[in-house]
Structures are given as C-alpha cells and as structure tokens.
C-alpha cells in the first residue's frame, strides 16, 4: 500500500472514532498519520495536509478537555433523586426503614448531599436508626466541605431533645475523632458529664489479649472506625446496633463484644454472611456486607468471657 493511501485510511479511521466518541483511539490514529507524513520527504512539505491534521487534533483535544472538566457528581433533578433512592433500595426482604436508609446512603454516594441530609433528617425520627442517620448527616456536611456546619448541627442537637444523652455521647466521640484526624482544634460541648462508661471495650482492653499482634494496616484499605449491623436474633432483632472497631487488618475488622451483650453473639456465626452492614470511616460512609471469619471467646486477662469477632468486609 502506498503511503498516501495509508494516511488516508488512518485519517478515515480517526474521523470515525471521533464521531463514535472514541477520542483516545481517534487521537492515536491522527498521531500515526502525522508520523507517517513527517517520515516522507514529499509529504513533509505539504502544509495544507499538515495544517488540516493539526486542526483536527485541536478540536479533538477540546472535546477531551470538555469531558475531563465536566462535573463528576452534579446535582440532579428531584425526579432523578427519587430514582436513585428507588434503584438502591430495591430489595424484597428489608423493612421500610432500612430501605429508606439505603436510599439515603445511595443519594450521598451519588453526590446528592443536600437531599441526602433531608432524608437522613427524616430517619433521625426512628429510634433504631437515629445515631446512624445523625452520623451520616455530619458526614454529608463534611463532604460539602463545611466542617463548621457539622459542628453547628451537633451543637443544635445538644439543645434539642431528640437524642438521649447516650446517643449524644456517641455523636460526641464520633465527631471529636474526626475533628482530631482533620487537625481541627475545636472543643465540642457535651450535654452533661457522661454518666455511663461509653467505650468500656477500649478502656478495659488488656495487653495480653491483642497487643502483641497489633497489625499494620494496609495502605489501601479504608480505615473503619465503627460499623452498624442490623441484628437478626432476639432480643434486639431488627435493631441497628453499633460496634466500635477494635482493630483492622486490611479488609478484616475485629469487634469485641462484651460478655454483658452475650445475646448479640448469636448473630455471628463463622462462615455466615451479614448483609446490610453500615461501615463508618472518618472520610466516608458506605454500606456493604461482611463474612464472619472468626468468633472466639477470650479465655484470659481482664477481658475474660468477652468475645472477639472477625469480619471480612465486602463492599457493595
């Protein structure tokens, strides 16, 4: 095939790929054509041909930039937001409340943060979802890059009477953790001095149980702070219970269940899949499932009688 014909074919291809929206493929063909032209003494001086291709490449580049610059998570119409909710709460076997939670989380994931906050505000009215929803609201505020808004919201909750003191304390610990991680120096108020020991699990942890094998956390694994699980056995069946993460190795998280919550152990059996886990990290919130890989009673030390539960994270 002579060189002119080769170039013609390359340009034809490039043109077609461009109309198909295959921009990188089109660019490659234009570059190949340019190379061929430059390698040929006769064609090298054909300024018309060269200018023509330069022009095509310029238009193509503009298209590529437009695509790169387009907003990734634009605010969409209320109708589409409804659709997002519906799409992600499409499950036959869930309670209406949990479906609503899934829907609100989906809105947040699609970047519809303001609408998600409205939805989570509705869910705050449900006792079993109150804390989960409140944390999500704080997270949405932070994703909207208004840390102050998150703090103001928390302060308002303190003066409202929607939350119990225990619930507020959970939010306090949660928000304080985030502020610390973000390097924000802000003293959060509390409704009153906590009367209950909030995180006994952490304070009572003995050195002989887990310290020796405190693992390195893999870089690419999300740092999970806590998780919410819908309990499927009596007496707390149907409730979302929150567990603080004791530690994390890659995508395996370890919870500690104190002996006084022994009833909860029934919900964890090795090999079982737990659906509907809400995972909380300081930067994100996501739902998923998990597979129980270990349930072990602690035999020695101050935590004797408590249970260690390992869960492998499966992100949806």
């Amino acid at each position: 095939m002579n060189i002119t014909k080769k170039i013609k074919i390359l340009l034809q291809e490039a043109e077609l790929y461009h109309t198909q929206g295959l921009l990188n493929e089109a660019m490659e063909k234009y570059h190949n054509a340019t190379k061929l032209i430059k390698s040929n003494e006769q064609l090298k001086s054909n300024q018309n041909l060269i200018n023509g291709i330069i022009n095509k490449i310029r238009v193509l580049k503009e298209d590529i930039i437009k695509i790169q610059k387009a907003p990734k998570k634009p605010e969409v119409s209320a109708e589409v937001q409804e659709l997002i909710k519906k799409m992600c709460s499409f499950a036959p076997d869930k309670s209406e409340d949990l479906k609503a939670l899934d829907g609100a989380i989906a809105l947040a994931k699609f970047g519809q943060l303001k609408r998600a906050i409205t939805e989570f505000n509705e869910l705050i009215k449900k006792d079993s979802l109150r804390v989960v929803a409140a944390k999500s609201i704080l997270r949405c505020h932070m994703a909207l890059s208004s840390m102050d808004e998150a703090v103001t919201q928390y302060e308002q909750w303190i003066s409202d009477d929607i939350f119990s003191t225990i619930q507020l304390d959970k939010l306090y610990v949660f928000l304080e953790n985030i502020l610390k991680k973000e390097g924000v120096d802000k003293k959060l108020p509390r409704r009153k001095a906590p009367t209950v020991n909030l995180e006994p699990v952490i304070t009572r942890l003995g050195t002989n149980v887990v310290q020796a094998k405190e693992p390195e956390i893999e870089d690419d694994a999300l740092d999970i702070n806590s998780i919410g699980i819908t309990i499927d056995s009596e007496p707390q069946e149907g409730q979302v219970v929150e567990f603080k993460i004791r530690f994390q190795l890659g995508n395996i998280i370890t919870l500690l269940i104190p002996i006084r919550d022994k009833d909860l152990i029934k919900s964890f059996k090795v090999g079982n899949k737990i659906n509907d886990i809400q995972y909380y990290s300081t930067t994100a919130l996501f739902s998923g499932s998990g597979i129980v890989t270990l349930v072990k009673e602690i035999k020695i030390g101050p935590l004797r009688g408590d249970y260690c539960v390992d869960i492998e994270i499966v992100v949806n």
Binding site: Q20, G21, E25, D63, P74, V76, V80, M87, F90, N316
Partner: protein
C-alpha cells in the same frame, strides 16, 4: 433481586445493560424506548455528561402485562461504561436479575470489551453472584461498521474473546438501526423470568 408481591400479584425485576464505554448501551435503550411503546410504561430518564456519555445511568420502566395472573414490571438500566465510573456501575448493578453485555465490534475496543466483562464478573461477585449463574446475554454491537474502512472483529473472534467459557446466547446487532435490539432484550427477559420462576419454586 426481584420483588415478588403476592398480595398485589406483581413481579418487579431489574435488567441492566453492561459493557465498555461507547459500546452502544444507551443507543439500545433509546431504540427500545422509541419502538416498544406498548411495553414502555414511563419516560426514559438519562443522566449523562459531556459528549452524551452516561454519567449515572439511563432508566426505562417497562411492563410486560400479565403472565400467569401476575403483572410483570421491569426496570431497565444502563451503566456508565467509562472506566472511571467504577463505583457508580456497581451501585446500578445492585439487585440485578438479568444482564445484557453490549460489546463493541470495533477492533480498537477489543481489550476494553474483555476488561469490562471482567469488571462485570467482579462486581457481581461482590454482590455474591457468580456470573455463570445469572441470566446473561451477549450482544456484539455495531455490525453495520463492517466494510466501512475500519477494522471490525469477526463474530468468531468476539465469541472466542468473550463467550468461550460462558457460552451464553449472543446476538450480532446494530443498535443504531435497531437490528437485533428487541431480540436481545426479549431473550434476556425470557431467561430472567425463567430463572425467577425457578427461584420462586425452590424458595
């Protein structure tokens, strides 16, 4: 994960068009929307971005009428094929009952087809679904480009690349002129309803 409502005598299932960017998923749905007026029960909703690329999804609500006394409703979605929308693709796939994989016949997209099929397999697995167990149809799209001066793969090559192990039903198609668009969807609906019937019986 179809919703089977015995009280309302209604079955609602979800079909998703999957495949690499620009392979013709949205074009398939547009053709269905224009052509199957009787089965389309609402507007087609598209959330797209620059250059007509799907950003979140396309959605089309359909109704197949009564089958054995049950009202069959179908939610049809397309995923955004661009590589960077990985997490959105996964969200759209949630609760899927049947998949149509739209592959691009252009030779320059060979690798992208294979990567997208792998991505589908991976995302299904994360939802606890093995790709060999879900109703899946393969569509080799843009057949009209054969003989138009660009390299187009043969059906044999595409079958070897994508369907050698899966061995699912496949259709050469040209979504832009509607060729085999209806046949692809019909086959997927048939397999999906059959699979749901089996699930309902065994459950």
């Amino acid at each position: 994960m179809a919703i089977f409502n015995i009280k309302k005598r209604e079955l609602e299932c979800k079909i998703v068009y999957y495949g690499p960017g620009r392979s013709g998923k949205t074009t398939n749905m547009e053709y269905i929307y224009k052509t199957y007026k009787k089965q389309v029960v609402g507007e087609m909703v598209s959330v797209d971005t620059e250059g007509d690329r799907t950003l979140f999804f396309d959605f089309l609500p359909m109704g197949l009428g009564q089958i054995k006394g049950f009202d069959i409703k179908v939610q049809v979605y397309t995923v955004p094929g661009q590589v960077q929308y990985k997490s959105t693709r996964k969200l759209v796939l949630k609760g899927v009952d049947g998949v149509i994989f739209v592959a691009d016949s252009l030779a320059v997209r060979r690798e992208k087809n294979m990567l997208s099929l792998k991505d589908l397999q991976h995302n299904l697995k994360e939802y606890g679904i093995n790709i060999v167990n879900i109703p899946l149809i393969m569509q080799h799209n843009k057949r009209d480009l054969t003989g138009q001066g660009v390299p187009v793969m043969t059906i044999e090559q595409m079958e070897r690349d994508l369907n050698r192990q899966l061995k699912v039903p496949s259709f050469p198609a040209s979504a832009i002129i509607g060729e085999s668009v209806g046949a692809t969807l019909k086959e997927c609906l048939k397999l999906t309803l059959l699979s749901l019937k089996k699930q309902i019986k065994s459950g």
